[in-house]
């Protein structure tokens, strides 16, 4: 118990749990805002995993660099995704992702 937080596997399990929660949220929820937040959860889980492995290997901090770029890409993704959600809400007056069926018929 005293090793809690000093062992790589704890971070792997925590990251897997976070990713799973995010993935299930993305698949089950139908509110596009919450789906976008679930994507952010998954990206955060991957960042945690990268930093944990980088901590284990030591040496060059390439894993932290990857996490840095993932944060930059996630910020861009959130900006564009929220703009799309705004546009979609103007079009449909709804944030329900099942109603985004303009390309379906």
């Amino acid at each position: 118990m005293s090793a809690l937080g000093y062992v790589l596997e704890h971070y792997v399990v925590l990251s897997a749990l976070l990713f799973t929660i995010g993935a299930i949220g993305f698949l089950v929820r139908r509110n596009v805002l919450i789906q976008l937040m679930s994507i952010e959860l998954m990206l955060n889980a991957i960042n945690l995993l990268l930093v944990a492995y980088n901590r284990q290997h030591g040496g060059p901090m390439t894993g932290q660099l990857f996490a840095f770029f993932i944060i930059a890409v996630a910020a861009a993704e959130a900006a564009v995704g929220l703009a799309i959600i705004l546009s979609y809400y103007r079009l449909k007056a709804s944030v329900h992702s099942d109603e985004a069926d303009a390309l379906k018929h």
């Binding site: 062992v7 299930i24 089950v28 937040m37 901590r55 390439t62 930059a72 910020a75």
Partner: protein
């Protein structure tokens, strides 16, 4: 149980509670607050993993920008837009299949991880300066300068694209009515003194 253990436990609990409340919350604003809690937990775990620079970036970018952007959008389109009952039929079957399949898959993964019988990998002592601003910044500008510049280009493109998408009108603007004004060579006098002499192809009336 020492301070390091306590930091891990607090961070992990913040992450899990925040993530669950993000996914379960009915109102998007509560989901955004859950996301904020998760982000703070992740930042504290970054501190535990001696990634101080990333912990600061995580707080600045995620808590300071992304969550605030989410809250802005939620306030803009109304905080009471909790997805409500779907207007067009239900997708309950596909939701159950997708969520259940993902739960089964990740349960299998966790089972495999629990049966892991190798020696657990304990972290060695962190190198001096591991993950601080100087080390990560130096590495960023020495080894990864081209991806760094490309990231700036990506952010510029994303901002312009977001403006373009968010400002676009839902319906095309109606064409301006055909009038005498629209046949003029210019849409107005270029100089105040020309106001007396309209630049018009049409004969003055």
């Amino acid at each position: 149980m020492n301070a390091g253990n306590a930091l891990f436990i607090v961070g992990a609990l913040l992450c899990l509670v925040g993530a669950l409340s993000t996914v379960i919350a009915r109102s998007p604003i509560r989901a955004a607050m859950g996301l904020l809690i998760t982000i703070i937990g992740i930042a504290s775990l970054f501190l535990k993993l001696s990634a101080q620079f990333l912990a600061a970036i995580q707080i600045i970018v995620y808590a300071g920008a992304v969550v605030v952007l989410f809250v802005f959008v939620i306030m803009l389109i109304g905080a009471d837009t909790s997805a409500g009952p779907p207007k067009s039929g239900g997708s309950v079957g596909s939701r159950i299949v997708a969520g259940g399949g993902m739960a089964v898959l990740s349960g299998l993964g966790l089972l495999l991880l629990a049966r892991f019988d190798g020696q657990p990998v304990r972290f060695g002592p962190a190198a001096v300066g591991h993950g601080d601003v100087e080390a990560v910044g130096g590495l960023l500008f020495r080894e990864a300068i081209i991806p760094f510049e490309l990231a700036t280009a990506l952010l510029i493109v994303a901002v312009i694209g977001a403006i373009a998408v968010a400002r676009s009108k839902a319906r095309p603007r109606p064409a301006p009515p055909e009038s005498h004004e629209s046949k003029r060579l210019f849409h107005g006098p270029l100089h105040p003194r020309d106001a007396q002499r309209p630049l018009s192809k049409e004969p003055a009336e």
